[in-house]
Structure formats: structure tokens, C-alpha cells
Amino acid sequence: MTADFSFEISASKGRHVTICLGGDLTGGEFARVEPNVREIIGEQNGKHGVLWDLRQVRRCDLSARRSMQKLQSEIAERKLRTAYVASRPRIRGVALWVVHTSGDKLARPFANHDQAVDWLDTSRGRMEEIIHRAKEIVSFGERKGARP
């Protein structure tokens, strides 16, 4: 276990669950978090979203990444919306890898906390969001003369 790893889970009635992680995230550390998250998402019964606040995470090893992917697949089965917020590019890459490889269409990584919370409050899926953005880019490209 790493000395500076920390986690805190908060869930208020009618709101999303926030899981704050900090420090160096290893598979061993993540194993301490998993049962708590499973218990809470079990109680949620598909009603509210999950916000992974990774802004204080510095590093994440391969074992933790795989465990996160497995847990995200379980969250996807419960159709809970998920947002990851991270302030380091590497950790956002980890979050993107987790949401992509878990196949969860309701999960997305963000750099900005407010945008992450907004995501939990909308009904659009990640693919719809990407298609929506793609249409905007096509429309922008057309205005500038790059016709698809």
C-alpha cells in the first residue's frame, strides 16, 4: 500500500455518489475502495450517477486500471451514468481507456468538475454526444468549405 493514497465516498439523498481518490493508485489500493463502491451502487438501484473525482490522483498502475475497468462494466450493467474528472492528461487517458474498454456508453471523462456534474444530469449517452459533436464539426467544416 502507498502511504499517501486516500479515498472518500459521499452520497447524499437524491444526488450522485462522489468517489474522491488521491495519491498513487495501485491495484491493492483500489481493492480497498471497490467493496464500498459496490455496496453504494447496489443501493442506488439505477437512480443516480457516479462521479469519480480523480483530480488528486497522481499515478495509476496497470492493475488498478484493470480493476477500474471491471467495476465500470458492473456500473454499466446497472445503467448508472458515470463521469470521471481528472486534472492530469495521463489520468484522463486512464479514464478514457476505462470507459471505452468497459463498453459503458453512459460514462465520460472530463477535465472540468462542472462539466462532469452536467453530464450526470443529462440523458444523452457518450455515443450520442460524439455524434452530436461530429455533426457540429461537419457543419463548421461545411461553413468553412470542407464538405464531407
Binding site: 462494466s73 492530469r88 492528461p89 468497459s102 477535465a111 459533436r133 464539426i137 463548421f140 470542407a146
Partner: protein
């Protein structure tokens, strides 16, 4: 997650895409990303994506210049956390500058690799510092504004800002697939995404000049 196996026609398409890529860029790209694109978008969707990518590349080249366009795409990928596009496009931009001016670009796979681990505000500062080199004024401004748009700190105000936002959106879509390679790639394995990669003599001269600069900086 169980990875969906590709059909015969999808596997043939991957082979075709990799062969075309090699012909165009002179590089052997890893099959994983091509497979993921086909798996994720389907054959028809992937070719529609490629078609628009070509048009969007032309638009960026016209508005930003080819080298700055490549570097900005690489930095958009860095922001999203993808090393595959981050390294590949910054290498392409650096080769273009080396060919055009005979000078080393401050932004390249080795100079950005450490940035992946930093906090966003530190990355913004480091990039701004790197781009104080004369001749990179436009790129410095564009990089700063693109990062601010990415962080939600700036709403696009100009046509250039709109294009920078377009790059961020387009590569958020692209790195969905390239992240499978982009999560573990090292700068040494960067691949170019442009015909400049076919110029092996240029690449050799560039690698030698960069190695000399890195050695001088280390001493």
C-alpha cells in the same frame, strides 16, 4: 470486457487500411488501432470518418498551416490523454518544421511525454515556456487558447477559436479508439501520420539533430 471478434470483411478492411497507411506514411502502424476503429465504427462508418478526416485536414492546413495543424492535433490528443495521437502528430509537425526551416521544433514526442503526468495548469505553463522560441508566436497563442477552451475557461470568440474547438471535438472522437494504444505508447514508438514520414533521409537527419540537442541539454 469481451472484445468483439472482427468478421472476415472487417479483417480484410483492416489489412487494406494498414497497407494504405504504409503506402501513404511510409510507416508500419500497429494493427490494434485500425481494428478498434473498424470494431467501433463499422466499415461504412470508418470510411465516412476517413473521408471527413481528409477534408478536415485540408481545412486545418489552409487555416493554420500544415505544421501548426499537426502540432495542435497532437496537443489536443495530449489533453485527452492519448499518447498515440499526441506523439504521432507532434512528431509530424516537428518533421515539417525541420524540413521547412532546418530547425528543431520545441514541441515533439520527447518534450511532451513528461507533460502527460503534470497538472493541467502546469502543462499550460510548460507549453507556453516551450513556445517562446522565435517563429512559434502563432502556435503559442493557439495552444494557450485551445487549452483554455478545453478546460472550459474560454468560450470561442473568433473563427480561429471555433477551429481550435473543432480540433478538440474531432480528436475527442478519434482518441476513443486510439486510446487502446495511446495509454501505453512511449515516445520512441511515435509514428507519423503524413506523407512526410516517407522521407527517410529527412527522418534520419531529424533524429540525429534531436539526439544531439537532447544530449547537450542533459550535459
Amino acid at each position: 470486457m469481451t472484445v468483439k471478434p472482427l468478421t472476415l470483411s472487417e479483417r480484410m478492411t483492416v489489412k487494406f487500411v494498414l497497407a494504405m497507411n504504409r503506402l501513404t506514411t511510409g510507416e508500419v502502424h500497429p494493427p490494434d488501432t485500425a481494428e478498434e476503429f473498424i470494431r467501433f465504427m463499422g466499415i461504412r462508418g470508418f470510411f465516412r470518418y476517413l473521408n471527413f478526416l481528409n477534408k478536415f485536414n485540408k481545412l486545418m492546413d489552409k487555416e493554420l498551416g500544415p505544421a501548426n495543424a499537426q502540432t495542435l492535433v497532437g496537443l489536443a490528443a495530449l489533453m485527452a490523454g492519448c499518447g498515440f495521437c499526441g506523439y504521432g502528430h507532434t512528431l509530424t509537425g516537428a518533421l515539417m518544421i525541420f524540413k521547412e526551416r532546418g530547425e528543431l521544433h520545441p514541441v515533439h514526442p520527447f518534450s511532451i511525454s513528461a507533460l502527460f503526468e503534470l497538472e493541467d495548469h502546469e502543462v499550460v505553463e510548460k507549453l507556453d515556456e516551450m513556445l517562446t522560441k522565435p517563429g512559434f508566436e502563432d502556435l503559442r497563442r493557439q495552444t494557450k487558447r485551445m487549452y483554455e477552451i478545453f478546460l472550459g475557461e474560454l468560450e470561442p470568440e473568433t473563427e480561429e477559436d471555433e477551429l481550435l474547438k473543432g480540433i478538440l471535438d474531432f480528436w475527442r472522437w478519434t482518441v476513443e479508439c486510439t486510446i487502446i494504444e495511446g495509454i501505453h505508447i512511449v515516445p520512441e514508438n511515435a509514428k507519423t501520420f503524413n506523407s512526410i514520414g516517407r522521407d527517410k533521409a529527412l527522418r534520419k537527419r531529424y533524429d540525429a539533430a534531436l539526439a544531439a540537442e537532447r544530449e547537450a541539454m542533459a550535459n
